[in-house]
């Protein structure tokens, strides 16, 4: 019932395609993030699922029911979709107390007084706001206001909950805490969550699967780990985490040749569909370069201590590599070291 399925959904605003041909199935009880830079269409997608926008083409299903269809002109308004939604700006009504805010959906369906109280109190306890029912939003912190919005979205016990960058207005520490809290809530209540964010760490921590979007297209739909370790293309690799791109040439099934301006290096790498002699781009995560021993010689250009790791910029000939090393061994700026490139990926060269 609470599976959400998008089939070839397209939405255009004034001749600009906001979402292009998006197909994704969000399973019952799954936590799926829509992740991408601003303007990638993730919020538009969420608003189409909510029923605030109508897709031009394609269909959206809740379970077996079509809720939006561009071609067949079917459209179920938001209030009939039985969703909970949390907005980026909280959208907590300023003139109502916390209790009244959360009770609002219940009063709309004319639930009796006693039940309202019980249900609201339960929702407030879920988000740890017990006893704050009589406060007004302006007396609460940003994090508390966001909890009110969460409680309001949960109070009708929806099977699907939509969250639109709910944490982006909070400070870093609180954001970190709330990630786990939202995830816990989702697990405990077993609801399906669709979560829009531009923060990859947020998507990584919370999602069962992530949809990486750019310019209206879904670039990859996968588990966070796969997205990090096996990005579908250069955009995804670049958007998620840190990565170095180095031009290279494929020389045989497992080796590419890297020219750094002063010399050449052979690097072992699975070449996939590439042919011998083809030009390609080698993608290396900073943590996949080992320092201290190896066939390649580099010079430390900059070393920054980050607590758990050391963040280096290393010059390999004329190529600059971003490398993260253990904090146990510290190399100093200007020092020459040997290094080896471990796990890496190949992408086709790109004009950019």
């Amino acid at each position: 019932m609470s599976e959400v399925r998008l089939v070839n959904v397209t939405k255009t605003f004034d001749a600009v395609a906001a979402v292009r041909n998006l197909s994704v199935t969000i399973r019952d009880g799954e936590f799926v993030s829509l992740l991408g830079p601003s303007g990638c269409g993730k919020t538009t997608t969420l608003r189409m699922i909510a029923g605030f926008e109508r897709p031009d083409q394609g269909e959206i299903y809740f379970g077996d029911e079509v809720v939006s269809s561009g071609e067949k002109n079917i459209f179920l308004p938001p209030e009939k979709r039985k969703l909970g939604m949390v907005f980026q700006s909280y959208a907590v009504w300023p003139h109502m107390s916390v209790f009244d805010n959360v009770a609002y959906p219940l009063r709309v369906i004319k639930m009796n007084r006693g039940e309202v109280k019980e249900t609201v109190d339960h929702a407030l306890s879920l988000v740890k706001l017990e006893g704050l029912g009589s406060r007004y939003p302006h007396q609460l912190s940003g994090g508390q206001q966001q909890r009110v919005a969460l409680a309001r979205a949960l109070v009708m016990e929806p099977e699907v909950m939509l969250l639109d960058e709910p944490l982006s207005n909070l400070d870093a520490k609180l954001r970190e805490e709330m990630r786990f809290e939202i995830k816990d809530l989702q697990k405990r209540l077993g609801i399906t969550v669709i979560y829009v964010t531009h923060d990859q760490a947020e998507a990584m921590v919370m999602s069962d699967r992530t949809v990486v979007m750019n310019e209206g297209l879904a670039y990859q739909i996968d588990e966070p780990r796969k997205i990090y370790e096996q990005p579908a293309d250069r955009f995804v690799a670049d958007f998620i985490g840190l990565i170095n791109f180095v031009e290279c040439e494929v020389i045989d099934e497992r080796t590419v040749l890297l020219k750094d301006g002063t010399g050449v290096h052979k690097v072992e790498c699975g070449i996939g569909d590439f042919n011998k002699g083809e030009r390609a781009v080698l993608a290396i995560r900073p943590e996949n370069v080992s320092l201290g021993a190896g066939p390649i010689r580099g010079t430390i250009k900059r070393a920054v201590y980050l607590g758990n790791v050391l963040d280096y910029r290393i010059m390999m000939g004329k190529i600059e590599l971003r490398v993260q090393g253990e904090a146990g061994v510290i190399y100093n700026e200007g020092e020459e070291i040997d290094l080896a490139i471990g796990r890496c990926l190949l992408f086709p060269p790109q004009a950019c």
């Binding site: 209030e79 939604m85 009504w93 300023p94 709309v108």
Partner: protein, 297 residues
């Protein structure tokens, strides 16, 4: 106490104060302008204090012989022996006119603004300028159809008829102000209640209306003063003195042969008092509200 601390206590020696001639010029101009604009008010007040005998063109600028309020009493209660109708009755007529007309047009404008700002529909971008166009229709150009319409509605010659006219004529400006005010309120507030299943009117009543007070203050001040001060519609729609608003009655107080200027001036002050008070007490909300609307609209 050392010399040093003494100096500190005194502060550094001030340089001789420089006279900024630009600033002086500004003040001279401002004061002159203020005096110029306040002259009629001065005349209004002192003439209202004078007796009929004291009023003359030759001594019009002179102060009254004392604080006499006879003219006010005469203007308010009238004097049947001299054929002067008091304004008290018409003052109340104006209240009965301005209060409902203000509330009515504010409410309609607020609902229009709600629809135009938060429920965009096909054609709403055409409808809004059309509504605004109503502001630019001169009163004079519609007088004949207005009278005919009111006669058909059996409202001609009555205060309800006048209320109706002012509500309709107020819709463009109140719609404009409210649309801009609501445009500044995050649409997410509305969407959050839409998703909870609140109805079109439910959202207005429970979510938007309670946070509309700044908009209402602006609109109500504006409407109150324009309805209260209106003369043309009053004189056209109401012909019987018993139902005329105060502006019309004030005009009629001037006799055909002699004008008792002292009574006339006192009456003018009485007629202007409500709008003056509204502005004095609510004026700052007015400015604040106007800015809030315009900045975000």
């Amino acid at each position: 106490m050392t010399a040093n601390s003494f100096e500190l206590a005194q502060g550094p020696a001030k340089p001789p104060r420089k006279i900024h001639w630009g600033r002086v010029a500004i003040y001279v101009v401002l004061i002159a302008a203020a005096v110029f604009y306040l002259l009629p008010v001065y005349l209004l007040i002192i003439t209202g204090m004078k007796s009929f005998a004291e009023v003359s063109l030759a001594r019009m600028w002179d102060l009254p012989s004392g604080l006499h309020f006879d003219s006010y009493i005469k203007a308010w209660f009238g004097k049947e022996s001299e054929g002067i109708r008091g304004l008290s009755n018409n003052f109340m007529n104006s209240v009965y006119l301005a209060v409902p007309a203000t509330l009515g047009s504010a409410l309609l404008g607020s609902m229009n603004g709600y629809v135009l700002a938060k429920w965009k529909f096909r054609g709403s971008d055409v409808l809004f300028p059309l509504i605004l166009f109503g502001m630019f229709i001169p009163y004079q150009s519609i007088l004949i159809p207005l009278v005919q319409t009111l006669q058909r509605m059996h409202l001609y010659g009555s205060i309800p008829g006048l209320i109706f006219v002012h509500i309709v004529y107020g819709i463009p400006i109140t719609t404009l102000i409210f649309r801009n005010y609501y445009a500044g309120i995050p649409t997410e507030l509305v969407e959050a209640s839409k998703i909870d299943g609140a109805s079109f009117l439910g959202i207005y009543r429970h979510v938007l209306f309670p946070i509309s007070m700044p908009g209402f203050v602006v609109v109500m001040i504006w409407q109150f003063q324009s309805v209260w001060n209106d003369f043309l519609f009053g004189v056209i729609v109401t012909s019987r003195p018993a139902v005329q608003p105060i502006t019309v009655a004030l005009n009629n107080m001037a006799g055909s042969y002699i004008v008792e200027w002292n009574v006339q001036m006192a009456g003018s002050i009485l007629a202007a008092l409500p709008t003056l008070l509204v502005f004095i007490f609510l004026g700052r909300y007015f400015m604040r509200g106007l800015l809030a609307g315009s900045l975000k609209g």
